[in-house]
Symmetry: C2
Subunit: 301 residues, 2 copies
Amino acid sequence: MNVELRHLRAFVAVARTVNFTRAAEQLHIAQPSLSHTIRQLETALGIRLFARTTRSTALTQDGERFLVEAQAVLDRFDAAMEQSSRMASGELGRLRVGYLIGAAVDHVPAILREFADQYPDVALELTEYDFASPNGGLDSGETDVALVRPPLDGVPDAVTTTLLSERCVACVSALHPFAELPRVTVAQVLPEPIVAAPGDNVWRDYWILASYRDTPANITHEAATFEAELQSVAIGRGLSVVPESVARLYGRQGVRYVPIEGMADCEVAVVHREDAPRSAANFARIAARVTAEGSGPDVRG
Amino acid sequence: MNVELRHLRAFVAVARTVNFTRAAEQLHIAQPSLSHTIRQLETALGIRLFARTTRSTALTQDGERFLVEAQAVLDRFDAAMEQSSRMASGELGRLRVGYLIGAAVDHVPAILREFADQYPDVALELTEYDFASPNGGLDSGETDVALVRPPLDGVPDAVTTTLLSERCVACVSALHPFAELPRVTVAQVLPEPIVAAPGDNVWRDYWILASYRDTPANITHEAATFEAELQSVAIGRGLSVVPESVARLYGRQGVRYVPIEGMADCEVAVVHREDAPRSAANFARIAARVTAEGSGPDVRG
DNA sequence: TAGACTTCATAGATGGCGTCTATGAATGTG
DNA sequence: CACATTCATAGACGCCATCTATGAAGTCTA
């Protein structure tokens, strides 16, 4: 017969009360069951733990020694359960965070600081993704949570929390006919040669305005980063559709940003899978709160 | 549901092999049972321990952390079992040894030395008993094993190992008619006034030769030690029947020792209860061996 | 000293659950 | 493309943990 924790729990209860009846009540079992369990334990160990009369119960010398051991095992077990509970609640563990370049850059430091504050025992692992991986590692399972720009692709059971939205603008060469316009329409943009993300997925489709088109876009170049896009644009390979905040982040050397009338705003969201560890949800919650509260360090200007 | 050691054992086995099928074989259970057990554990802990595909198994981050915990619990448990095993075999614990004054005095030091040598982790507690407690504390449960002179009384399930036997002699005053005789018969002793142990038990009966008598003995005095007996004898209260070795131990100031013809030899034995801890039997075994091997320090002369 | 009460052990019944067999689904492999 | 391997699921079975009922023994009280 295998000794189980229930034997130790029973033993410790009896050892502490020195009374089978009361110990049984504490354990929420019947007294004969407890007697049986203790007997099992004694048989398995090969030692007498209690000196029983019909009227009283006392620990034997061996029982006293074993009480220390049993208690130690149970304490160790409780510690393990405590730790697993902290893991379950997301207080303890590791969280792999992915972020797409240019997504919520203003807020990321505050989000991370707040999360680290609130969950000091969670090890954060940050990975930056470029437009070649617009899902921020969620599709491959490399990350647990990600700051990305929808739409996502290949992320089953994704839980998405939108953090902010902003206008989309057309980024054109300073020499481009659009360069000095106050705005352009989607219809004006569609025929233009366009610089797009690499690959072939719903995310790239989004930024080349595929949903507005009848015929395929004229993609003249592919770039995985804003810098690369802007360079391509600057040397006249075509225009590029980007979030408005890019204007702020990457300046205007050789390019101009022109709002696109009639195009829906684009968003930044924090995303995790439904079955991700709890800390992913915690991160998403904190990200949403931090983004809503402060607008981040004001680097505009 | 309560987490039991079998869950931890199952978890550790799977974590080590990273293979449900092989782990199940090691645990001697069927693979579906193991899957079920692991699932139970995961549910109870609220965390995913394994990342399972239909083709492979891997520990999650949480699983890796919990493996350390689970292993620690099992290690602690194994240590407890190891210790209880040592208690069961009598290698570890306490042994309460009682000895009757004058019983095997020559051999006791060697016995204790040998036992302490062989069982260094058993704490010996020695208690001396006089003729008021000829059972050496076995009857009251004060001791676990005792060096005594049979017969015993009130010790249920006594396991007796005879160590040695010796002649009985009559101890008489130097002025007593028997004093210069080379020997006396039982019949000669019976009518004499006699000094006996206190109380009323089979042991006292033995030394007053009750089994040889038709009528009660004429007990003139009671004494709980040899010294007291010899003093009573010396001042003429009567004779006393004692083991021959007493002559050697207590000298001859005012008394003489006369062999009793026709009286069976008396014995020294090591005794413990059937249900005594294993170390009691160990002690008895060692006592028998030491007594048989050496005759102890030679203090005769 | 007798009766009542307390406490632990025993006996027998029952039901929950741990384990089993059989089977399916998924996926890497020759 | 068929096969082998691995884990999950479903349903059945049987052990054993627990239960209720009762007994035995000792303590306390009147």
